[in-house]
Symmetry: C2
Subunit: 214 residues, 2 copies
């Protein structure tokens, strides 16, 4: 398809598509003549992913380019390619390690990962911004006097593990490895709002069931 059709089918203006092409977020089309190029289904999919990252996820253009670079780098392991977006999303800043709430939170998160048997998450901990975000969130709770510990968190960890397993199972139903990685990256950005809304709706439902609606 030509640029005009790509624009029509993706709902993205030709000016924006040209901008993404210049910024290297979208691979160039296949040259037909000096002034026209052909685009294919891969371009359409990639455009969808770029919009998910930038417009929905609020990821800066430079970060999106970095994420897509990892997605396309077939020399990288699949875990790294899948995790590219997860690690590139905004995360909590480095916590203050002198803060007793941070020290206690880190110890509880360590105990949690041990009790869940999440061995690789423990291995990746020193590098992972995701691990850091959990430490910061638990430290915030503890600082306010809500003493969340490993025992309290473990059942939620198990439930989130079921969510993650189901997401990867779904991803694996997709044909090509490129499509799988693209889907994983998009869902890192797009699925969180769905999960949060489902959680809030479940709270509403369960609370109304137990205590009625007046």
């Amino acid at each position: 398809m030509r640029l005009a059709e790509l624009s029509e089918r993706s709902g993205v203006s030709t000016a924006t598509i040209k901008y993404y092409l210049r910024e290297g977020l979208l691979p160039p089309g296949h040259r037909v003549t000096a002034t026209t190029a052909e685009y294919d289904a891969g371009h359409l999919r990639r455009l969808r992913l770029v919009r998910a990252l930038i417009q929905v996820g609020g990821v800066p253009v430079a970060t999106a380019r970095e994420v897509l670079g990892h997605v396309d780098d077939e020399s990288l392991g699949r875990t790294v390619r899948l995790g590219a977006a997860l690690w590139a999303l905004p995360h909590a800043p480095e916590p203050d390690e002198d803060d007793p709430a941070v020290v206690a939170a880190r110890a509880e998160v360590d105990r949690l990962l041990e009790s869940l048997g999440w061995e690789t998450a423990r291995e990746l901990a020193p590098l992972s911004p995701v691990h850091r975000s959990l430490v910061v969130a638990v430290a915030t709770l503890r600082r306010l006097g809500y003493l969340w510990d490993a025992e309290l968190m473990a059942p939620y960890g198990e439930l989130m593990h079921q969510v993650a397993r189901r997401q990867l199972d779904f991803m694996e139903t997709h044909a090509s490895p490129t499509e799988q990685v693209e889907l994983a990256v998009a869902s890192a950005v797009l699925f969180e709002p769905v999960l949060r809304a489902l959680h809030r709706l479940a709270q509403e439902e369960e609370s109304a069931r137990r205590y009625g609606i007046e």
Copy 2:
């Protein structure tokens, strides 16, 4: 305890406590003399909740006052008091009902609630900003070409229901109804970052288990 001790034990400056008192976010202390007042454990707990809402949840002062008004209003049903913070948090704006993606998303969310048997959530749907957020999130996915439907979402809804049940069970272990409501409001704000981090960490763990770390 006096104001100085309340400040020390809560980690909130006396200036900020006085501001919260003036704004009606914290009930006045018990007058001892014309210039001094006594504060109790209830004040300490309330201060913790105010900080959770304002500093962690980013809730504006006027909204926090509204939420706390609901929390304290014993004439309201428990579901409304518990849900006060949930409804006051920032939510998606009204979707464009002429957008075919919104129409399709709303139909899928209706089918989802029916298949889950979430009757009260269905009843509250026209009023609920939580329901609206789910429609908007699903519409965004569909607009990008990810055709999420009721069947795909149902298992995640079941898992989130388990999370919500566990949260209410925990809340019910607390002594007084006021403490229970305060805990529910605080957790609406504070627990979401923990759940999100656990979800991301579970994705990291499951992906590393399946595809290894290179």
